[in-house]
Symmetry: C2
Subunit: 232 residues, 2 copies
């Protein structure tokens, strides 16, 4: 069966709102489905019934994941795990912290981990907020394996990109894409020497003023707005 763009359009239309922040998400979803049509092995799906991009029902399932991913809050959660007491024992023995200090540290450590996850999530949101109107499509919703953004070069060849917040984050396994397309990788920050990597963005993401100061402003605005929204 060939790719039915009209069917995708019709399906995604049911999910659209007039929220200006969601403008262009229909185009992104269509292109992501086209990419999956060209590269069916990139679908990341745990259960047995893999949705197909050539039928209405499959498209609905994917659109739901896509829009849920976009609309979920990336405000840091309250930690849901119970700290390992052995870590506090090591902290006392190795670094000389008191038991009392460790009680505080273990909470702050959990908050730090939640904050780290938040930075990773907001990095993708920031890139999407700038690049969506430049022909880059954010693969949100976690159903594309090891790929965060896709686009096409001037010859119509897929460009695929994996984003990491840090150079020491483990890369997801990333087997090859069809037609010899390689997954490009970009990370934001250097863990060893410090500093950021905005000067090294993939070529087709350059020229749109993406920067660390832009990211800081985006993060602060996002968290303020989310806090207000969640407290309502």
């Amino acid at each position: 069966m060939s790719f039915d763009e009209e069917l995708v359009k019709k399906t995604v239309a049911e999910f659209l709102t007039d929220n200006p922040k969601e403008q262009g998400l229909d185009v992104a979803f269509i292109e992501i489905c086209r990419f999956l049509y060209d590269n069916p092995n990139r679908l990341s799906w745990r259960s047995k019934n893999k949705p197909s991009v050539t039928d209405k029902n499959g498209l609905k399932i994917l659109a739901e994941k896509f829009f849920n991913g976009f609309r979920r809050s990336d405000f840091p959660a309250e930690p849901g795990t119970i700290p390992d007491e052995m870590v506090s024992i090591v902290m006392q023995q190795a670094y000389g912290y008191s038991a009392e200090q460790c009680e505080k540290i273990k909470i702050e450590h959990q908050h730090s981990m939640c904050a780290e996850n938040c930075v990773g999530a907001l990095l993708e949101r920031y890139l999407d907020s700038v690049l969506r109107k430049q022909g880059w499509h954010w693969c949100c919703g976690d159903f594309i394996k090891a790929i965060d953004f896709i686009s096409k070069d001037k010859n119509g060849k897929w460009l695929v990109l994996q984003i990491k917040n840090r150079d020491n984050t483990e890369n997801s396994s990333s087997s090859a894409i069809r037609n010899g397309t390689e997954i490009q990788k970009w990370f934001r920050s250097f863990s060893k020497k410090g500093g950021t990597n905005w000067d090294n963005l993939p070529e087709l993401m350059q020229g749109y003023n993406l920067s660390e100061s832009g990211f800081v402003a985006f993060v602060e605005k996002y968290l303020k707005e989310e806090k207000a929204r969640l407290n309502n």
Copy 2:
């Protein structure tokens, strides 16, 4: 070529010392080599020249990794990375910490991560300290894929075990072992409900008084001794 136990014995003999803590490591190394002979696909090796367990030179290379792994210190290191400033920004916005608090928290967070790594490493050392004389062989030195301990059941079939400190640690990829042997998994602590899992040790590790209090005592003794040794 068949497995040459004599050759392994002769090779490992050059690495032995009379340190009582290392007693029995020669037997462990021999059995690990035998396991690799039976399951060559479990060798984890990055460079091209994979050492062979059937020649002297390959055995030397493996023995070196094995003993280096055993003899290295698992005392928590001083952090070698530079914290991501964006994490502190999120901590302030989301949890209301002050910038000054964040300066302290980011160091303590790094120490916590180093302490977590230490707990994972010492968990294997603790198990080895009790189980080595019970026919369990610790795969230290990181050259066996996704396996931490091996032993044999009463029918002479390999038993292979992966150990994790916590139920939410990602499992290493663990493709099947020959003869349908499955990699058993055991984790020490529950991240969601709290508490530990010593009551659920794999059958052949039971009966040797492995326990949380035994682990605590081991960790405290190890760190005190290592501290004294490293300060000398």
